[in-house]
């Protein structure tokens, strides 16, 4: 571990190898490398192999050609990708604006019951996808009839349909359940950002007659843009490796008729197999690799393009 030694020439003579640095770093680096980094790269490597007659054979990019081009595979892959993009877009247009609105209301000065609202609205976020999925599945179930009953109260009973069972509405319904659960994250992060705006800035705005709505859009919103950027990338990464909620609500086949299939459920089915389909680790690895590059592209876009364009203000 000579690399750990400080190279500054004037003191190098009197400083022995500092073993304690290696000791402090070793456990974390070891576990992280062995259980996360190596498997991650090994998965990328496995996507280049295929089992032929019981032997693992290097096939180059053939697995990807199959996933993207072979009619047996590509239909489900592009379907999953399309659904995943829609899943993400619904989060961006529903979850984040509502989250920002709730944060803006919560950060108003002299608000009573602030702590109560905050705690209550964040509660769904800490529940597991399994709980949330089943709870909403029960509520939306036509057998129990809670949803139609509630809609009846507001005079919209005719609007009710078994949303989860219809290919046209299932994905939107599942996305909205996911929004219901995850809204606490944008709300909290943006609430924190709003609290960190100095009073002087807001007082100066008030002196200039900028209050209420225009204060929010002209002063606060530009100041919290970096946080909105972070929230967006967190949403992106979370949505593109989502699995649990769809698996719980619609099963591994992501019904009806694969209309709620996203990359996570496709990966699970490909890797493990389901019903008549046999599991295939190499094809699973290929799909995981595709997901890896999608997520990497999103993160890079954020780090190198979006984050640099956002103007930051230092107080």
């Amino acid at each position: 571990m000579t690399t750990l030694d400080t190279p500054e020439p004037d003191i190098v003579a009197k400083r022995p190898v500092r073993w304690h640095i290696a000791v402090f770093l070793l456990p974390a680096v070891l576990v992280y490398t062995a259980v996360m980094i190596i498997p991650l790269f090994d998965t990328l490597r496995l996507s280049l192999f295929r089992v032929v007659d019981g032997q693992s054979v290097f096939v180059g990019l053939d697995n990807f050609r199959t996933v993207f081009g072979d009619p047996l595979w590509s239909a489900s892959f592009w379907n999953a990708l399309r659904n995943n993009i829609l899943f993400f877009l619904i989060h961006m247009v529903v979850q984040n604006p509502i989250g920002i609105a709730l944060a803006a209301l919560l950060s108003l000065p002299v608000l009573r019951f602030r702590g109560f609202y905050r705690t209550a609205i964040f509660l769904p976020t800490i529940l597991s996808f399994v709980i949330v999925g089943f709870v909403w599945k029960l509520i939306l179930s036509p057998i129990w009839g809670v949803a139609p009953f509630l809609l009846d109260i507001v005079g919209m009973k005719a609007f009710f349909a078994p949303w989860l069972g219809r290919p046209g509405s299932a994905l939107i319904t599942v996305s909205l359940v996911s929004v219901w659960q995850n809204i606490g994250i944008p709300m909290m992060l943006i609430y924190a950002a709003l609290l960190s705006i100095p009073d002087e800035v807001l007082e100066a705005a008030e002196c200039d007659g900028v209050t209420g709505w225009s204060q929010f859009f002209k002063i606060k919103l530009p100041l919290i843009l970096p946080t909105i950027g972070i929230v967006s990338i967190l949403t992106f990464v979370g949505n593109f490796n989502a699995f649990d909620l769809i698996y719980t609500m619609q099963g591994a086949i992501a019904g009806p008729n694969y209309s709620t299939d996203i990359l996570g459920t496709l990966l699970y089915r490909t890797f493990f197999g389901f019903q008549l389909q046999l599991g295939d680790p190499n094809m699973g690895a290929a799909i995981a690799t595709a997901m890896f590059f999608i997520i990497l592209a999103g993160v890079c876009l954020y780090l190198f393009v979006i984050q640099r364009r956002i103007r930051r203000y230092q107080f």
Binding site: T3, L4, T6, P7, R18, I21, V23, F24, P27, A28, V31, Y32, V35, M36, P39, L40, D42, T43, L46, I98, L102, L105, L111, R112, F113, Y117, T119, I121, F122, L123, P124, I126, L127, S128, F129, V130, I131, F134, V135, L138, W144, V146, W180, M188, A192, L195, P198, I233, V237, N241, F243, D244, Y247, G264, F271, P281, A288, T289, F292, V299
Partner: protein, 279 residues
């Protein structure tokens, strides 16, 4: 006069909006908890009413506790979560101390290397993780889950903890060095107690995704002896879809411990998320 009235109206609207959303957030959970204490007839005839003498029943809970080994599942979840948090905090704090305290060649590279995992989800390596666990005979053991969750939690823990460790006074550490304390003693005796609030924040952040995870228990440890609560509830409900009492009671049993912990730790959690924002 009119200005005061409009401000009252505005406050009213704010409370109306927040109250409406709070209702939306709490109602589904309330509905499940309430109906888990009812007879089947009560669940269907009046889902929105509190249980009364005629509809009160614990039949759902009896079924669940008789059929499913929920105590075992709880124990598994508890072991996995506590062990993972312990390892994440210990290893994470050690690495964070090394990165924030010492200047050595490769420091920045090491910090970036450890930060990679904040953005890239560990799930994408599942294929190779499973193969590795099969090769080492760790499939269907809690150790497999603990290892995976430790690796999953470390990047964020190192990141947050090194931010906090930079704030620990250098004078204190140097005073310890003058007194002849070893670097290990300085870390365990002087620095760790000072970053305890940050450790608590990291613990809460680490705990939620581990307790709630379905993916890795499903893939690495689906055996009856190693099922976690999340997986146990998932499979149990899958078997008893038509037994509404059992389904509602299972959900309530899975919700309650989280709910209790949340009400104890919500201040800590919220303070952790909004850390640095408090003026």
């Amino acid at each position: 006069m009119s200005k005061a009235r409009s401000s009252v109206a505005r406050t009213g609207l704010v409370h109306l909006a927040l109250g409406a959303y709070t209702l939306l957030a709490l109602f589904p959970i309330f509905l499940v908890l309430v109906n888990s204490f009812k007879t089947r007839a009560g669940i269907f005839s009046a889902p929105l009413q509190l249980p009364n003498a005629k509809t009160f029943s614990l039949i759902g809970y009896e079924t669940v506790l008789k059929q499913g080994d929920f105590l075992g599942y709880f124990q598994n979840s508890l072991i996995v979560t506590v062990a993972s948090i312990f390892l994440v905090l210990l290893f994470g704090a050690m690495a964070a101390f090394a990165l924030s305290e010492y200047r050595f060649r490769g420091n920045t590279m090491m910090a970036l290397y450890l930060a990679l995992g904040i953005m890239i989800p560990i799930r994408l390596g599942t294929v190779a993780i499973l193969q590795g666990m099969v090769a080492t005979g760790l499939v269907n053991t809690l150790t497999a889950l603990i290892l995976v969750y430790t690796a999953q939690g470390l990047p964020l823990a190192v990141f947050i903890l090194s931010e906090f460790m930079r704030q620990v006074s250098d004078d204190l550490k140097n005073a310890g060095r003058v007194d002849g304390l070893s670097e290990y003693t300085i870390f365990f005796r002087l620095v760790l107690p000072l970053v305890r609030p940050a450790m608590a924040t990291v613990a809460v952040f680490t705990m939620i995704p581990i307790w709630n995870d379905l993916w890795f228990p499903l893939i690495l440890a689906p055996g009856e002896k190693t099922k976690t609560v999340t997986l146990g509830a998932q499979m149990f409900i899958g078997q008893y879809v038509t037994n509404w009492n059992a389904v509602l009671s299972t959900l309530s049993l899975a919700i309650l411990p989280v709910l209790i912990l949340y009400f104890i730790f919500s201040r800590q959690l919220i303070r952790g998320i909004t850390a640095g924002a408090v003026k």
